[in-house]
Symmetry: C3
């Protein structure tokens, strides 16, 4: 728990600069969420600019949801640059499985040592080839059904693997953590999952600068989201007002409140 | 009226998966609106992925507002795939008329049997070549002035044609329905028109699975928007708070409340 | 002050049509802000459509934040068309300095006589080559440190130059105006700076049609943003609810209230 507090404090202390290469639906909420938690967003897709920036950023998010070919080319260059510069990068394999182009892209970049993979259960199964993925961006598989695939993925890639659901599971080769919290309204707000990928990036950067593990960073990000979701759920009962309350809560919630509100369980 | 209730209930019962190929301004509100009404959004523009997905989705939205050439190519493939798979698809000819590239695209895809065309009066006149279109995305023509063009369009294309305005008109070869409701604040919130196109897609899918007509589906979508607009107008007097109240209302309003709030008139 | 009032009244009286070519993060907030102040937005990036539209619009915004190559090509054509048609156009050099592609683009279009350049201090220094730009989209330099670069820029380009910060500075060859107001929450809402560029475009169009100067138009835009920020700050203490209150305030604030709320100082 003290790691979560230290990481969230360190995000505000160091303002990690997160290079986001993300889909066309969520850039605005992703940027607003990063600003709310104390990080700094930069969306840069153009190949040459992305290549330059990935080497300078604190962390890089690759979200393979809806984008065009030139952005995909930028992602390839950015992942290469991040790998060379030891910039931690995060893969969010949105709706991977049934869609041929983005599935091939996700599997290709996965070879370049992401620090973490964050997805729902169907996407983890889609990425590892054990399922055709979910229904659009929604998971049709349960979190626990993807645990085996997630364990294989963390072993083969070295990445921390996070599966989002009512209870999130964060897995690395020698550690499994479950985080419970949030609200049933969260899946009704587009971008809550995608912006979590960006917050994972920010928290991994903050964890590394505090000499903590990437696994700790991923747990801190999920705990923060769960806690803000729990707080917003007390204030709002419909998705648009929930969205406002939730971003406000990401801004106002204190790190010690996060660890009180989110149920974090190691196993 | 019972058709409207059955369709809106069926959206929540069947969660139609709406493949949205839409403009750069509105993906987020479109996705949030679909989630609020009980449907599932998927934004997929990349040609090969769009081609695959259009055959699997419950319905497809083609909105020719601001997009790039690769998305336009994806739209061509998706419309073809939808036509082959009998996936209902909806055309929203945003600002068609004066802009050469998107006007040519809209007229080209129109040949592939859309289930519905949804637009404002200027766009209907622009699509049929009777006007140079509106002023940007805003209508400069009155709904009633576009009735003749809409009648020609439904005859020639077979599509249900909906003209949005203070009173919406839904026209098919043998039926005309007018829906009144909403709020004068709706045109001040970007994406209320564009997301209506996506909701038309969801409601046509739900209508078909309930053995009702596409015309019924288009009416249900417009009635839902009008009712939510009326409810939100009671709570908010400026556009950003209206936007929140309106999306919340799309989530909370019950189907029987929709038919009480929206004035639906057959002629 | 009377100029500010006349310009803001004239925006509502004439509804300037603002052609926005902007980055992937902010189209929605930009459109909503333009609608809230009484202007009309049109986002058109496709080269041939952008070329046609730039000649018809009331003003054009070129924001070189995150975009793809085809949009950049469209910007070149649109700037040419605007210059030929004497359409005022505004340059927003987002994150220019360290990123090679967008920096070259910004410097290239700058040769085509923008009416105004709006940026933060780091971006002004990045545009003139005196700094490598800020940290992503955030300024790392102080407004006053960029005054010299801004003076050179207004002399060489003929454009009114506006530097955004806690106190904004608007500079033309023979006039310097400072505007103070707003809220510390504004930098935590993505797009408040980018949408200011669009409002500068609308206000320059409204100033010209009222036989006032472009400098007056830029000041009016900044005063409106500062006043709305001050009003929203009284209602909200976290970024998402601030965003709602701020857009509402842009819609409800009266021109005479703007000049009472924003401190405008000529020097």
């Amino acid at each position: 728990m003290t790691q979560v507090i230290r990481i969230l404090e360190n995000v505000r202390a160091t303002t990690p600069l997160v290079h986001c290469m993300t889909n066309s639906v969520v850039p605005e909420i992703t940027a607003n969420v990063l600003l709310a938690i104390g990080a700094a967003p930069a969306m840069i897709d153009l190949p040459e600019d992305a290549r330059v920036f990935a080497g300078l950023a604190s962390a890089l998010l690759i979200n393979v949801g809806n984008g065009l070919g030139e952005q995909h080319q930028g992602m390839r260059l950015a992942v290469d640059a991040a790998e060379s510069a030891h910039t931690p990068w995060i893969l969010d394999p949105v709706a991977v499985g049934g869609l041929p182009v983005r599935t091939a892209l996700a599997r290709e970049v996965l070879q370049h040592h992401p620090a973490a993979v964050r997805a729902n259960a169907s996407e983890i199964l889609g990425l590892t080839g054990e399922s055709a993925g979910g229904r659009g961006v929604d998971a049709t598989d349960e979190v626990e059904a993807a645990l085996g695939a997630a364990r294989s993925l963390t072993q083969s890639s070295g990445a921390v693997v996070a599966i989002s659901g009512p209870t999130d599971v964060v897995i690395s080769p020698d550690r499994t953590t479950r985080i419970t919290g949030g609200s049933p309204l969260m899946p009704l707000v587009v971008g809550t999952g995608c912006s979590l990928g960006a917050v994972v990036a920010a928290c991994i950067a903050a964890a590394r600068s505090a000499q903590l593990t990437d696994h700790d960073g991923v747990v801190a990000a999920h705990a923060l989201f769960a806690a803000a979701g729990t707080l917003a759920d007390r204030q709002a009962s419909a998705p648009a007002s929930f969205r406002t309350a939730w971003i406000d809560a990401l801004y106002t919630v204190k790190p010690d409140e996060v660890v009180r509100l989110a149920a974090i369980e190691e196993s």
